[in-house]
């Protein structure tokens, strides 16, 4: 006891940390506060307005149908943005709960992880057929029904990726930090917010951004949807676009393109850039980075004194949440008995068998082996389309990406553009392509195909740019000293160097193309209807006809094809790239 409490006397911090007096800052608001207040207040006003509209009665949809009046476009854009927002929040909630469960419980992991893995590959638009009907019945007479269906469609395009990323972060928490937090007795709650969530943040935010890119595509596709006799047109950019197509209104289509671009830019600047700049401090690197992400909104936030203090106060309020030291003091989990494991596995297998039987029964009533063969054949046609298009896109974008990536000043300018293009929902551009096909009387079987990679090719471009930018300078210098030229340079130097990045990009692009096939293989312009033979058009036609059995069959076949492609081609390639060509 002799050595206790002999700290050097220190008087400075008695006033408490909240006021931030020690840092020479006060509560006096400054100009940045004003700017930020206006931004935040506007966001709240719009949220409230949109939320009130969303919960309105369903009759309002028929009483005030979507019109092509440009005055309404800002309102529609707002509604679309809110849907995205709701879906992101739902995905985050899902991620925190499900991924945490999978990381903490071995039995839950056994079910959740394979399920997420499959769900990632299932064509999202296929879900829409069922969820629209489900949600319409869940909220009869309220707009919430179709709203939820649309939000759910966006949710399904994001949640699985995000949960997967979070789960992987939780499983790779550095051993020493894990030990330190157990050693200092952090409760599970504190551990989550001090260790796990910050560690996972950069990966999760990056994945959320990527998922958002996909999300815009689905929000456009899901706002105006027809399932059998039910047709829903929710106020939004997607419905505006559908209406413009019916009316053959080129000007309205162009307006939608412009609005979409503005909305995505705003989302990027006001939401994601600030978050990425803020999350930079969570990167698990002990050295300071040379290149820090920047955001003017985040700078504004950091300069605004009062708002930040208030936020700190809010954060401090959460500090009173329960956190007993002893909560964390459970012993290392006991080895569970094999018998219980086997029982659990049996339950899971039984559930799977029952589900499979139900599906077969459902499909079997109306369909025979011939239908299965037909769907499989169509699947192969679409597979050929995806393969050829990814190959073509690679031939174009790999050289361009390398050329750009090796020029840093150019890369920093092109990279945001490529990311923007990847986020831009290609289906907004479809009508323009369809007009061209109709005008020149082109073969839709060939000329509708490029639409499938219209939105997804950019993933290849910006991943290759990232790879080429990260290529070590000394290797480039060595290559030029040895006078490696043209083909030899590509084969021995740069292609192996960017392979891990290229594979990531191509994998994302092919997954997106499968999804896009459902909307790209069937396109219309007014009453002109173009169709390419393939699994995508098969599903789209079945959906429009309300033929659930064929929808299930089509989605099943597509899922099997996507999963097999991933397992047989992309994963082995990715592992090879990681093992042999990762430059660390």
């Amino acid at each position: 006891m002799a050595r206790r409490d002999r700290y050097r006397l220190n008087l400075s911090p008695l006033l408490g940390p909240f006021l931030g007096l020690g840092r020479g800052e006060g509560l006096r608001p400054n100009l940045y506060d004003l700017a930020l207040f206006i931004l935040i207040a506007a966001a709240f006003v719009m949220l409230a307005h949109g939320a009130r509209e969303m919960a309105g009665p369903v009759l309002k949809l028929t009483a005030e149908p979507v019109t092509l009046d440009p005055a309404n476009l800002p309102e529609y854009a707002l509604r679309t943005v809110l849907r995205m927002f709701a879906a992101i929040l739902a995905s985050l909630l899902f991620t925190f709960v499900v991924a945490t469960l999978a990381a903490k419980s071995r039995r839950a992991e056994l079910v959740i992880i394979p399920a997420l893995d499959i769900l990632q590959s299932v064509p999202v638009l296929g879900f829409l057929t069922f969820t629209v009907v489900y949600f319409l019945n869940l909220f009869p007479n309220s707009q919430l029904g179709p709203e939820c269906a649309a939000i759910f469609a966006i949710f399904t395009s994001q949640a699985w990726n995000m949960a997967f990323s979070f789960y992987q972060s939780l499983r790779t928490v550095p051993a020493d930090l894990d030990e330190a937090s157990r050693h200092f007795g952090l409760s599970p709650w504190l551990r989550f917010w001090r260790l796990e969530a910050p560690f996972a943040a950069p990966g999760l935010i990056w994945n959320t951004m990527m998922s958002m890119s996909g999300g815009w595509f689905f929000v456009v596709a899901s706002e105006a949807i027809t399932v059998g006799n039910t047709t829903v047109k929710l106020p939004g950019i997607g419905s505006w676009l559908a209406l413009a197509i019916d009316a053959r209104d080129v000007k309205a289509v162009l307006l939608a393109v412009g609005t979409m671009a503005a909305v995505i830019l705003a989302y990027d600047q006001l939401l994601f850039r600030p978050i990425v700049a803020w999350a930079d401090k969570f990167r698990f690197e002990q050295t300071a980075a040379q290149l820090q992400p920047k955001s003017w909104v985040y700078d504004l936030w950091r300069r605004a004194r009062l708002v930040r203090r208030l936020a700190d106060l809010l954060g401090a309020a959460t500090a009173f949440l329960p956190r007993r030291r002893h909560a964390a003091r459970r012993r290392a989990s006991r080895p569970t008995s094999r018998l219980a494991d086997i029982a659990w596995l049996a339950v899971v297998l039984l559930a799977v068998a029952w589900a499979l039987w139900r599906i077969v029964e459902f499909v079997d009533v109306t369909l025979g082996p011939r239908d299965v063969l037909q769907a499989a054949g169509l699947g192969l046609i679409t597979l050929v389309r995806v393969a050829v298009l990814i190959a073509l896109a690679s031939l174009v974008w790999v050289p361009i990406g390398v050329w750009v990536g090796l020029r840093p000043w150019l890369a920093t300018r092109v990279q945001p553009v490529a990311q923007f293009l990847a986020a831009f929902p290609a289906n907004v551009l479809f009508p323009i392509a369809v007009v061209a096909i109709v005008h020149w009387r082109l073969n839709p079987n060939i000329w509708l195909s490029p639409l499938m990679v219209l939105g997804t090719q950019w993933y290849i471009l910006f991943n290759v740019i990232a790879g080429a930018s990260a290529f070590p300078t000394d290797l480039r210098e060595a290559a030029s000293l040895f006078h490696l030229r043209s083909w030899q340079w590509w084969r021995k130097v740069i292609l192996p160097g960017i392979l891990p990045y290229y594979v990531t990009g191509a994998l994302t692009a092919s997954g997106g193309s499968w999804n896009a096939s459902i909307v790209a293989e069937v396109a219309s312009w007014g009453d002109t209807r173009l169709e390419a033979v393939g699994l995508g058009s098969y599903i789209a036609n079945a959906t429009a006809a309300g033929d659930y059995a064929r929808v299930v069959l089509g989605i099943g076949v597509m899922s099997v094809l996507v999963v097999s492609c991933n397992r047989l081609i992309w994963r082995p390639l990715y592992r090879l790239a990681e093992r042999r060509y990762r430059l660390s």
Binding site: R8, R182, L190, A201, R329
Partner: protein, 428 residues
């Protein structure tokens, strides 16, 4: 009266591939009193870090009992605080927040937390860095944060797990001196320090008692009281003698026979992954002036700037290959070792190949299998499976890589990384 810290008959086993689990700690007992610094000295892999984690309650012992002030430890213990080798700071928390984390977990109110954290930060000499992030600090500063974080919870025993080994020599020395000063002046709110280290001089410099660990399995083989007054002088003859004695102790088995450091026998011997260039380099260094084939290990470690954890595996591999002999803290070249130094590149390879196949059972085994097979090819998985019967996956991998590296240098056999196949092909 209860001892401050009491460890009785602790054993620790880790499951491995199949068969017997690996025994890491065997019957370790120790006592700590108030007001002393005790070092656990041993080579990496001797289980001393495992023991520290068992004492901290982070790792349950397979057998045995740990008590602090009479209270049995059966979960993260409150009376101890640990300083980690890798610092283990949260990179997204500031220095102040990192120091506060233990208090926050205890539910100490914010103002009190802040006051105590600032006091600890000042004590450890980090004033002015409160709002910095760990990545902005140098290694030495980071470890000071780690120290402040441990002290701020007022532990009875401060556990230090190789706290200076991730730092450069000068920084480590400064931090050691500062720590000893604070200790000497009684300004740290702790009763005792338990220090894990593989650095013999560090142990002699800092401790009141040194507990020397043997490897495979970890046992306490000696307890050495150090009564030299603080501050201690590394050049003091008594200090040097003590260091020499401990070197001799660590290179000799209790029976006096030289210790072959690698666990396992026959093809299941766990081999260190060392480059043939490093082996040749040490042979040359010992053959040259001033050692002329016979070097005192502390002197050699000093002149090569190697720690015992770096030096011992190399010396022991040379002993395994019969190029040198380790005894009494000395390294002596054999005739073959002297011959090796004088040969040209091809001659060295031939001699290395002879010794590799004669004295490393796994290398001989691989060669024999390749010779017997008509195709002269064999997959690595075949040998990996054999090894995993005796050791963990990770050690099996390390051992196989060591044999591949040495076999390639000796041109005894070839290995294709992409296919994972051993062969007798000449890669040309």
């Amino acid at each position: 009266m209860d001892a401050l810290l009491q460890v009785d008959g602790v054993r620790q086993r880790y499951p491995k591939g199949s068969g017997e689990p690996l025994l890491v700690l065997d019957g370790v007992s120790l006592r700590m009193r108030e007001n002393e610094i005790v070092s656990l000295l041993g080579r990496s892999g001797c289980g001393k870090s495992s023991l520290l984690r068992i004492i901290a309650g982070l790792l349950p012992a397979s057998e045995g009992h740990v008590a602090i002030e009479g209270h049995t430890v059966d979960g993260p213990a409150e009376q101890v605080a640990m300083v980690f080798q890798s610092f283990a700071l949260f990179p997204w928390l500031t220095v102040l927040e990192n120091v506060e984390i233990g208090l926050e977990a205890q539910g100490v109110v914010a103002a009190e937390r802040h006051r105590r954290a600032i006091a600890a930060i000042d004590l450890i000499g980090l004033d002015g860095y409160e709002s910095a992030y760990p990545k902005e600090l140098s290694g030495g500063m980071r470890q000071r944060v780690g120290l402040a974080r441990a002290l701020v919870v007022h532990p009875k025993v401060l556990l230090m797990d190789e706290p200076f080994s991730a730092l450069d020599v000068l920084t480590a020395e400064t931090l050691r001196t500062d720590l000893l000063d604070l200790w000497g002046e009684g300004r740290m709110p702790i009763s005792s320090i338990l220090l894990v280290t593989h650095n013999i001089e560090e142990a002699v410099l800092m401790s009141d008692r040194i507990l020397v660990f043997s490897s495979n399995p970890g046992r306490i083989v000696a307890e050495i009281p150090v009564s030299l007054p603080q501050p201690r002088n590394r050049l003091d003859p008594t200090f040097r003698q003590l260091v020499d004695d401990i070197y001799a102790l660590m290179t000799a088995k209790p029976g006096g026979r030289p210790q072959v450091g690698f666990p396992g026998t026959g093809i299941a011997m766990l081999l260190p992954l060392l480059s043939p260039n490093l082996l040749a380099g040490l042979l040359e260094a010992v053959a040259a002036e001033p050692y002329r084939g016979h070097a005192d290990l502390p002197a050699l470690a000093g002149s090569l700037q190697m720690e015992i954890d770096d030096l011992f595996p190399v010396a022991e591999t040379l002993q395994l290959l019969r190029f040198a002999e380790l005894a009494e803290g000395d390294l002596r070249l054999s005739d073959a070792g002297r011959r090796f130094v004088d040969l040209d590149q091809d001659g060295r390879k031939r001699l290395f190949a002879q010794h590799l196949l004669a004295y490393v059972p796994l290398a001989a085994h691989v060669k024999r299998v390749l010779d017997e097979r008509g195709t002269h090819r064999a997959p690595a998985s075949r040998f990996r499976d054999e090894l995993e019967d005796h050791m963990s996956e990770q050690f099996a991998d390390q051992t196989l890589r060591a044999v591949i590296t040495w076999g390639r240098y000796a041109e005894a056999f070839a290995y294709d990384e992409a296919t994972g196949i051993f062969s007798l092909d000449d890669p040309g």
